[in-house]
Structures are given as C-alpha cells and as structure tokens.
C-alpha cells in the first residue's frame, strides 16, 4: 500500500466516523462535530489527490485551504444556529425540536 492509498483509507475512515456520528447522535453540537470530521475526511482525500513526488501540487493545496476556511465559517454559523435553537426551544435534540415545531 503506497502513501496515497494510505491517505485515502484514512480519509474514508474519517468520513465514515463523521457520518456515523451525524446519523446516530441526538445532540446538535455533536452533529456539527460529526460534520466537521466528514469535512476533514474530504479535505484529506483532496490533499491525497494532489500528491506528486516529493510534495503536493499547488492546485490541490489551494483547494484544501479554501475548503478549510469555508468549513470553519460554516461550522461557526451552524454553532450559532445551535445556540439560537437551544435558547428558543431549551433542547439540543433535533427530534425534540421538530416535535415542538408542530
């Protein structure tokens, strides 16, 4: 198994663990954390795609940096939504919040 395949396996594992968190948890904060882990997996896959001898090509590097910064702002936004939802409904459980809406 070469370097690139190793990285891809890791990225798949990260993605899967994030995915598992998102679909099983009943806590909004944990859900957002799961999302972030999924984004890490994707970033790692992007990064491994640009591997060349002795380094990483510029294009995939810049894509990863872009993705990280967008991911960070999305996470900040999501967390602020979670805080607002908690203030409004007094719970972080999405199933509970949905029940309260009706």
């Amino acid at each position: 198994m070469n370097e690139q395949q190793l990285l891809l396996v890791f990225s798949a594992m990260l993605f899967a663990s994030g995915f598992g968190t998102v679909i099983t948890t009943k806590n909004l904060i944990k859900m957002i954390m799961g999302f972030q882990v999924m984004i890490w997996g994707v970033n790692l896959a992007l990064f491994s795609g640009g591997l060349v001898d002795g380094g990483v090509n510029m294009f995939s590097k810049s894509l990863v940096v872009l993705s990280i910064s967008i991911g960070a702002s999305v996470e900040a936004l999501a967390l602020s939504f979670a805080i607002l939802a908690y203030r409004r409904f007094g719970t972080l459980n999405p199933w509970e919040i949905r029940r309260l809406m009706h």
Binding site: F19, V22, I23, T24, T25, M31, P94, W95, R98
Partner: protein, 587 residues
C-alpha cells in the same frame, strides 16, 4: 484633482464601513449619521470623478484576478459611469438623510443601514465595473439587497412574499444575463466592455452571436428594470419601507437594467434586430404600465407603475440606435431618478404621518402638509413634463429622437403613454391633496412631517426645477457631439399630450363632473377596462397558474421524503455509499 483612489473607494468604502455600522449599534444616533456620512463621502468622490472625466477622459485602473483565465478587476470611469455614480450617490445621500426621520422609530435599523450601504456601494460598483464578470457580481448583490430590503418587515407575510417575488422574478433575467455573457466569453474569450466593443465594431464576432447574446442580456436588463413581461415584482415591492422604494426606483436597482443596455450599446447596436427588440420592449412597457397606473388606489403603486412606464421611455429611446437616443435615455434616467425620488419621499411623508397608502382615505391634505404638497406637485409637474421642470427636457429629447429616427408607431404609442402619464399623476395629486379634507386627517390632527424629512424634499424640489438646464453639460460629459435642439412641433405635440391627459383628470377628480363613480356605473366597457387594468392584464394570474401552483404541488409531494431531520435524510446517502462500495469490490 482626483481624490485619493476615488475610482476604487467610491464603491469599496460602503462595503468596508458595514461592520462599523453594526459596531456602532450601541449608539443609534451615531450609527445613523455614520451611514449618512459614508454616503456623503462617496458622493464627494463621485463628484470628483465626474470633474475628472468631464472633458472626455477616462480613468481606468485594474488589478489582475484569476490571471489564468485572463480576468481583471477593473475600475473603468468614463462619462457614463461618472454620471451614473453621481446620480446614485446624490439620491442615496438624500434618501439616507430622510431615513433618519422616516425610519427613526423602527427596530432592526442596523440591518437597514448596512443593507442600504451595501445597496448603494454595489450599485456604484456596478456602474464602475469594467467587465461583464465584475458587473454580474455587483448585479447580484444589488438584487439580493433589494429583496432583503423589500422584506424588511419580515413579520409581515405580504412583505416577505414581495421580497421573495422580487428575488425570483429578477432571477429569470439574471440567468439570461449570465448565459448571455458566458456565451460571449466562449465566443470571443473576453468579458471586457472595451475589448468586446472594438471587436464588435471590427465585425470579429459573428452577427448571429451578437444578436442572440444581445437579446439574452436584454432579458437580464428587463428583469432588473421591471419591463413587461418581467415587471410583476415592482408593484408588489411597495410592501417595503418607502425609503427603500425610493432607493430602488430612483437610485439603484431599476436603473441597472437601463445602464446595462447603454453600456453594452457599442457591442450590440450593430444588430438591428436587437435595437428593434429594445425599442418595442420599452414602448409596450411604457404603455401597459401607464394604463395600470390610472386605476390603482394605492399611492405608492401609482408611482411604481409610473417607474415601469418611465423606464419604458428610456428603452424606447435606446431603441432608436442613434447617439442622441442613447443620450436621451441616460438623461431621462437621471431626470426620472430625481423626480421619482421626490415623488416617493413626498408620498412617504404622507403615509408616515397618516399611516395609510390608500388614496381613498386621503384628500385635502395640501393645507395641513404644505411642503409635502409642493414637493409632490413638483414631482407631478416633472413626471408629466411641464416646462421648465427636468422631465420636460428629457422627455422631449426622447420624443425628438424617436421622430428623427422616423419611428412613427413607436412615437405615437409613446405619446399615448404621455397622455396616460399626465392623467394618472394629476389623478393622484387631486385625490391626495385637493378636495374636502379626509376624515382620517382630521381625526389624526395631521401636520407637516419633521424637518429631517422636509429638507431632503426641498433639496430634491429645487433639483427637479433646475436640473433640466444641465442638458448641455451632461451631453458634453457623455461625449455627444451633435447639437440637441428642441423642435417646435415636438414640443407642441408633447404639451398637447400633457393637456389631453390633464383635462379628463381635472374634470373627473377635481371638479367631480362627471363623477367617476357614476361614470363607471353607467358604462360597462369602462368597468371592464378598469378590471383588466386592476388585474395587471392577468400577468400575475398567469405566472401563478403556470409556475407557482405546479411548483407548490411538487414541493408538497416531496415533503414525505424530506422530513427535516438530518439523521433520517442521510440514510439514503449511506445506502448509496454502500452500493458504491459493493460495486467497487465486485468490479
């Protein structure tokens, strides 16, 4: 004597200052005046740019951007751009000052002022942009700002609907514009206005591509400038605060379409099909909108239809294909901006004090609100084209150019639209300010609006009175060499149109002889006509039946799959991923 980097700061400064508006929110007065001060600064910069380019120079400076694709960020200031920038920023300044009084008691003002600054900055950026890509970005910012500002009172369902409608309808045009300029880029490899213009004049671009992309870009302009059939968003946009309406109608949003057509004129005017299309879009809009304005009872809707109609005049002038017609459209844009801002701010001052937009509940307000009355009177005289108000000069210029270009059917229909213009504006004036004093005004002990609102009204009134004499300066600025003289038959025709419209309006709504109500009861045909006008010729009903209803039905059907719970929604994704993995292994 250009100010420091004025061509960049004139649009970047409002963008930069938005966080400070939010930071200053602890001190509301400081925040509001800070916003006004920023617009004042950009106004000064726009004026300095105007002075720099008044003798036909251009200021161009660019920064490389996405060099691999040959794009740049270009600030390109020529006469047209500087002219528009001054119009946008001067009107923006007066409207922001007026807002201090009009919006003073509202909540959500940080949102209001930051969006207004973004709106004005984006519009200035739009006129200074040197290429299609940059223009498109500002174009979208202008669109989103207008949608948010129309829906400013987001707890009012009609306002939210109106904002959404504005966004969706202009989106149709935006998509056409995007396809149009990407097509041009794919054919020519450039998005720069100057380069494309010279390519078109050398005949490098195939004629069919010029026509098709030109029509697509025209559809974009029609969406923004609310021309038939994409006009349906503008009357509904009256749900927003009146200052926002004034901003949309006079300074920012709707002017973008006319500006785009004027800016791309050197590229597309070689196609006679395009010119004909531009002209007829304008003529039809001018006529239909003017007829709708004659029956509505909402004072702001009268002004909204009037905007569509006046923008139609501009498109009609652009359709002539002559430099004179091109100039006439831009001069009328400036003129329309000033008298429409005046009309809206005067109407805003009435409904701020009275609390209704229904003209049936107004009447006899001229004694209680003398300054507002004078302002609305001036606006009416300017829109209808009474000399020496600014509307007279600009409208006669359009009619002159149409007659010089021998476009008789268009000329005739534009004159009919002028008759209707005079009819509906005087109708509004008589209904609101003349006649017996309304019950509501007496009950509320109506009085004049505060100074902070009347001072901008007075400034604008002075502007519409004197700006007509700036025609020579403006034509020099926009690089028009031919002399623009008014011809006596044209002046006579347009004044005649004015009187033909004024007569029935005076009889019906001032003398009440014959009484409009009894006239409607005795004449079935008039009733039917009124019904058609009130329904807006059924455009709304058509769109509702063809687009909105089926979409809602599909959405409701999809609800069973989209539960709104992320965990549930992700299960199908997991299934697909598993299938993919199985396929990879089996392969």
């Amino acid at each position: 004597m250009s100010l420091f980097y004025a061509e960049w700061l004139v649009w970047a400064l409002p963008f930069i200052s938005i966080p400070f508006v939010l930071l200053l929110s602890k001190w509301p007065k400081a925040r509001d005046w800070f916003a006004a001060a920023i617009v004042f600064l950009t106004f000064l910069m726009a004026v300095s740019l105007l002075l720099d380019v008044q003798n036909g120079q251009t200021i161009t400076s660019s920064i490389p951007w996405l060099t691999a694709y040959g794009f740049t960020v270009t600030a390109h200031v020529d006469g047209l751009a500087a002219f528009l920038a001054v119009v946008v920023n001067s009107l923006g300044l007066l409207i922001v000052v007026y807002s201090q009084g009009y919006m003073g008691h509202e909540t959500g003002l940080p949102r209001y002022y930051s969006l207004v600054l973004l709106f004005i900055g984006a519009m200035t950026g739009l006129v200074i942009a040197g290429n299609f890509l940059q223009l498109y970005i500002f174009w979208e910012i202008v669109g989103i700002c207008s949608a948010f500002l129309i829906a400013f009172w987001y707890d009012k369902p009609e306002a939210v609907r109106a904002g959404l409608k504005a966004f969706l309808v202009t989106r149709v045009g935006d998509a056409a514009l995007l396809i149009g300029f990407v097509w041009l880029y794919a054919t020519t490899g450039s998005v720069d206005f100057q380069k494309l213009g010279s390519m078109a004049s050398q005949g490098v671009i195939p004629a069919s591509v010029v026509t098709v992309t030109g029509i697509l870009i025209l559809i974009g302009a029609m969406g923004k400038s609310a021309q038939v059939p994409l006009h349906v968003w503008l009357p509904d946009a009256m749900e927003g605060p009146t200052t926002v309406s004034a901003l949309i109608h006079a300074a920012t949003m709707v002017n973008a379409g006319v500006y785009l057509v004027a800016r791309t004129y050197p590229i597309f005017s070689f196609s006679s099909t395009w010119l004909t299309a531009v002209g007829w879009v304008g003529v039809i809009s001018a006529l239909l909108a003017a007829s709708m304005a004659t029956v509505t009872m909402d004072i702001k809707r009268v002004l909204a239809y009037s905007t569509i109609s006046q923008l139609g005049f501009m498109f009609a002038a652009l359709g002539t294909g002559t430099p004179g017609g091109w100039f006439a459209s831009q001069f009328h844009l400036m003129s329309q901006g000033f008298f429409k801002a005046l009309g809206f701010l005067a109407a805003g001052s009435v409904l701020h004090m009275l609390g209704t937009r229904d003209m049936g509940q107004m009447g006899g307000l001229r004694k209680r609100m003398p300054i507002t009355f004078v302002a609305f009177l001036f606006s009416t005289l300017a829109i209808t084209g009474v000399p020496p108000f600014v509307g007279f000069w600009s409208k006669d210029l359009i009619i002159t150019e149409l007659s010089l270009a021998n476009m008789t059917p268009q000329l005739f229909l534009i004159l009919v639209a002028s008759v209707l213009t005079s009819f509906y504006m005087f109708r509004a004036l008589f209904k609101v300010f003349f006649g017996p004093e309304s019950k509501m005004a007496v009950e509320k002990n109506l009085h004049e609006a505060p100074k902070i609102m009347t001072v901008p009204l007075l400034i604008l009134s002075a502007c519409v009175l004197v700006l007509g004499f700036s025609e020579q300066f403006a034509s020099g600025l926009l690089g028009i060499t031919e002399s623009l003289t008014l011809q006596l038959p044209i002046v006579a025709a347009s004044l005649l149109a004015l009187l033909i419209g004024f007569g029935p309006s005076y009889a019906l709504f001032y003398l009440h002889n014959p009484n409009p109500q009894t006239l409607l009861e005795t004449h079935g045909a008039l009733r039917q006509l009124r019904g058609a006008f009130l329904a807006g010729y059924g455009f709304d009903a058509l769109y509702l039946a063809v687009f909105v209803k089926p979409f809602t039905r599909i959405s409701n059907a999809m609800r069973s799959i989209q539960t709104g719970i992320l965990a549930k929604n992700l299960w199908p994704m997991l299934a697909v991923l598993l299938l993919l993995a199985i396929w990879l292994v089996m392969r």
